[in-house]
Amino acid sequence: MTQLIIKFRNVNFDPAQGDYLQKLSRDIKATLIYLHPMSGGAHVFSLGNVSATTQLATIIQQLSKRPEILYVEQDKIMKHQ
């Protein structure tokens, strides 16, 4: 499952409230599901099975341009070495 880490400029902003996620999903033409907050003031979202290719890069680029978002990064998988 592809996940995103998003940090908002307003650290008090709750993306799970209201219809923000619906609007955001419409704008990027993909379904964003809120998973949980994480340390450092960011939030974790699921993008379902959007593959880590051009579509994901486009979504990240679109989200990064939004004025309320400080940064967006893929929540990557790490493996033991």
């Binding site: 499952m1 996940q3 880490i5 940090k7 400029r9 307003n10 998973l35 949980h36 907050p37 994480m38 340390s39 450092g40 960011a42 974790v44 099975n49 341009k65 004025p67 400080l70 940064y71 990064e73 929540d75 990557k76 998988i77 790490m78 493996k79 033991h80 070495q81």
Partner: protein, 871 residues
């Protein structure tokens, strides 16, 4: 004792490094470690407070050696004379075998200093020889039965002669760990094992149930349920086990790795106990904190980072860690350079004084392309093999800090050339801990190299718990050993060398025994208070070694923001050494000689409002007798500035145009600045401190007027900018028809009214062809000009009628198509087609007029009342 101070004489400064030769001895104990000291260790920063002197005069020698025998007046007189010659107050301590005398120095001195004093004594004719009474430490060999198979811990020289070993026995002679130090293993969790009992209550931060493979995550259960992947799971694209390397034809199960258990054993397996068992660990005393973040298929960045912060003592999601770790082991990684989420977490963890040690990665590639190895502030570890060269799989690169044994079981295939540590016999779920299921296995990987560095770092902290991460790095790099094997080349560098536990621990042990008073003071502050968001602030501090004798080792200055504002774009510029970091800045000044100073200029920019509590602190590996003068705090707030607009783009628009994006250029913009249109807010995008973009709706420019554009910044601070004027103008009149009285071709400038009405736009391609035909063909002949004049007079009302009726437009387009074709061909070929075109146009024009008249006539006829027929 008759101590006489030597007025006006000072001890000279000395060099730092001095080689000492260890004496050989061995003591075997029935139930303790086998102590074998057979090692020539270069002693860095070694110290002593005693000298050994032998006098030429037999009268100064006692036949009976007794540590309690008081020296007579003759001996005391001789000692005082030597003190005067050396410029140091010496004291007779005791007699020793071999007719020697042990004299006390007034304080601990480095061996180099003590040697300098000894040379002065040796110059006295009454002295046969004088030398420092150097200290020696035992080499400890643990009694664990499998220690013999752990080549990676052994001495690289005698007695073990393991070229790839990290030289632990000598380090163990100084310290085997401290119960006050906690080491976190951020990994797959841990399984019960009889050789792993010093584990604290950890936590599991895995939030994906498939990855967690149990129902207790997230929660206070770091036990490892197994991370095996069946063939079906590997073929399933929706499984975290999905294996693109063999899917959809994977057939072999990947057994559980028990990775966290293996790593934990290297760091802290039970060692040298009264019931010897299994393998040895590096730290025999400190406790380990298991933090589970990896499961089936690995683990998400978000879970790992939450686990890391928690391990360092930072509360996460309301969960507090009662046992903050001073060292974190991250034997994990993945492709991609370090991103903001990772770097900010490492900055937070380093700022609270915890050291993050990470694996370089196993891709035999440049570590700069992997996370977290490429993050600033970590100690990334490359792997070496048994010969002390780079392991075939290990990542490398200029960013690598240090190397340690990761083992190599495949080139050649010798399993015992791996790293031996604790494991569970289960292939899927863990089997109960007992003598059958608690096993020991050789693994290879940078995962195995990393806990060597973690374990040794924990030994350093056991000697000096005040060491900062930058100091730990400096000390292990300074004492690292040159690679005896191959593979670490200028094009594939592996860090400062192979970590040398004995050299590093000895150095820290010697350093902390010496003192040096460091102080830090503000030199200058160029910034006003309060600070303004978006505007950099600068201050300079001076660090001084106030000691008259000792130089400082691993001198580090840190700049930490603990207020609520965010500081970014930070940097430090030192007069000596280097600074790193763009948020949390660390400066390594190296060695500061006694009496010397260094300056550092810090520059940072508040990017959000809030409080600023910016602390600059200095410390070294030495003991500082006065910690009150080691810090300076810049205490202020950051507020929003008043914005300034310098220009608008565009600065005007035509009334009736569509919505558009307005760019405001200026200064002092912040991320929640807002553009206002005649005082009303508009949706604003923060581009930078000097540019904003706003969406202006069509309604704002519907009518001719001017608008006042301002930008507002919110509190604290903030305010309204100057007003910039935006002009909404009248639409320009349509251009007049082109002159046709002999002015020639080349573009009359006017429109093709009928064609435009039919095709919908003057820019439509068919209209463009007709216009080109007019300009290049018709206007070049008298007949053509005459036709154009007639056309401009007669066609506008016809064009208006056509434009209002879709049917007429369609018919006109159809009618014009052959004309367009002829015109096109004429433009291509020229000539007689012109005439044909004129005749054709006239006929069509007449036909259109007739059609319109017929339609109008029929309409009028239908409207007339019917004539009644009288019967």
């Amino acid at each position: 004792m008759n101590r006489k101070l030597i007025p006006g004489r000072k001890i000279l400064g000395i060099a730092l490094f001095f080689c000492a030769v260890m004496l050989q001895f061995s003591i075997a104990r029935a139930d303790g470690p086998l102590i074998t000291t057979q090692q020539q260790i270069p002693s860095f920063f070694d110290y002593t407070d005693q000298l050994i002197v032998k006098y030429r005069n037999p009268a100064l020698v006692r036949t009976a050696v007794s540590g309690n025998e008081r020296p007579d007046a003759l001996i005391n007189e001789r000692v005082n004379m030597l003190s005067a010659a050396a410029g140091v107050q010496l004291t007779h301590f005791r007699f020793m075998s071999g007719d020697g005398h042990v004299l006390k120095l007034p304080q601990k001195m480095t061996l180099a200093e003590a040697t300098a004093v000894a040379r002065k004594l040796a110059a006295d004719p009454s002295v046969e020889y004088a030398e420092p009474d150097a200290r020696k430490f035992p080499l400890l060999t643990p009694n664990d039965p499998q220690y013999a198979n752990q080549w990676h811990y052994k001495t690289w020289g005698a007695p073990d002669n393991e070229p790839g070993g990290v030289n632990l026995p000598g380090a163990w002679g100084i310290t085997t760990g401290s119960s006050s130090i906690v080491v976190a293993v951020v990994d797959t969790g841990i399984v019960a094992h009889a050789d792993l009992t010093r584990t604290l209550t950890g936590y599991c931060f895995i939030t994906d149930p498939q990855v967690a493979n149990n129902s207790s995550c997230p929660g206070a259960d770091p036990s490892d349920p197994g991370d095996w992947c069946t063939a079906a799971e590997q073929n399933n694209v929706n499984s975290p086990c999905y294996n693109s390397g063999c899917a959809p034809h994977c057939t072999t199960q990947i057994n559980s790795s028990w990775h966290g258990t293996h790593v934990s054993g290297t760091i802290g397996a039970n060692t040298n106990t009264s019931t010897p068992l299994g393998v040895a660990g590096i730290n025999w005393v400190s406790n380990m904190l298991p933090v589970r973040v990896l499961g089936k298929g690995g683990g998400y960045d978000s879970d790992i980072i939450d686990g890391m912060r928690w391990a360092a003592g930072i509360t996460v999601s309301g969960v507090t860690n009662p046992n903050p770790a001073k060292v974190l082991n991250l034997s994990l990684g993945g492709p991609g350079a370090c991103d903001t989420t990772w770097q900010s977490a490492i900055d937070d963890i380093t700022a609270v004084g915890a050291t993050v040690v990470v694996a370089a990665g196993n891709s035999n590639a440049n570590a700069a392309g992997f996370t977290p190895a490429s993050c600033n502030g970590v100690i990334n570890v490359a792997a070496t093999n048994r010969t002390g060269g780079r392991a075939y799989y290990s990542n490398y690169g200029s960013i690598i800090k240090i190397a340690a044994p990761g083992g190599d079981t495949t080139t050649p295939t010798i399993p015992t050339n791996g790293v031996l540590s604790t494991l569970n016999k289960g292939t899927t779920t863990p089997l109960p801990s007992n003598t059958t299921n608690d096993i020991y296995v050789y693994y290879e990987g940078t995962s195995m190299a990393t806990p060597h560095v973690v374990g040794i770092a924990s030994l350093l902290l056991s000697v000096n718990p005040l060491l900062l991460p930058a100091q730990i790095l400096a000390l292990i790099q300074q004492t690292a050993r040159v690679f005896p094997g191959s593979g670490c080349t200028p094009s594939t560098p592996c860090g400062a060398g192979i970590i040398d536990a004995n050299a590093a621990v000895t150095l820290v042990n010697n350093s902390v025994a010496l003192s040096a008073d460091l102080s830090l003071a503000l030199t200058s502050a160029a910034s006003a208070s309060p600070l303004v968001v978006g505007s950099p602030f600068t201050y300079q501090v001076t660090v001084t070694n106030n000691d008259t004798t000792n130089s400082t080792l691993a001198t580090v200055v840190t700049f930490i923001q603990s207020g609520t504002a965010t500081i970014g774009l930070a940097s430090g510029t030192p007069s000596t050494g280097t600074c790193t970091g763009t948020s949390f800045v660390t400066c390594n000044l190296g060695t500061l000689n006694n009496g010397a100073s260094a300056t550092i200029t810090f520059t940072g920019t508040p990017t959000t409002t809030g409080t600023i509590i910016h602390t600059a602190s200095v410390s070294s590996a030495m003991t500082d007798p006065n910690l009150l003068n080691n810090s300076w705090v810049f205490n202020t707030t950051a507020v929003n500035p008043v914005p300034v607009i310098s220009s608008l783009s565009p600065s005007s628009a035509i009334a009736g145009n569509a919505a558009f994006t307005l760019t405001a250029n200026g200064s002092n913009f912040v991320d929640n600045s807002q553009v206002q249109w005649n005082g009303a807010p508009r949706t604003t995008t923060f581009v930078s401190f000097t540019q904003l973009r706003a969406t202006i709706p069509a309604a704002d420019i519907a009518t001719v007027s001017t608008a006042g554009i301002t930008v507002t910044n919110p509190t604290p601070g903030g305010g309204i900018s100057n007003t910039a004027t935006f002009t909404i103008s009248t639409p320009p009149p349509p251009p007049p028809p082109p002159p046709v009285d002999g002015g020639g071709g080349g573009g009359g400038g006017g429109g093709c009214f009928i064609a435009t009405a039919a095709f919908g736009s003057p820019l439509e391609k068919h209209v463009q062809i007709l216009r080109d035909f007019r300009d290049r063909i018709l206007l070049n002949s008298a007949a053509g000009k005459a036709f154009v004049n007639f056309y401009y007079e007669a066609s506008p009302p016809i064009a208006r009628t056509i434009a209002q009726n879709e049917g007429l437009r369609l018919m006109t387009r159809a009618s014009l198509m052959p004309v367009v074709g002829v015109a096109y061909l004429t433009l291509l070929w020229g000539g007689a087609a012109t005439l044909f075109f004129l005749i054709t146009m006239v006929l069509i024009f007449v036909a259109i007029i007739r059609t319109i008249r017929r339609k109008l006539t029929r309409k009028l006829t239908l409207m007339k009342p019917k004539t009644s027929i009288e019967i």
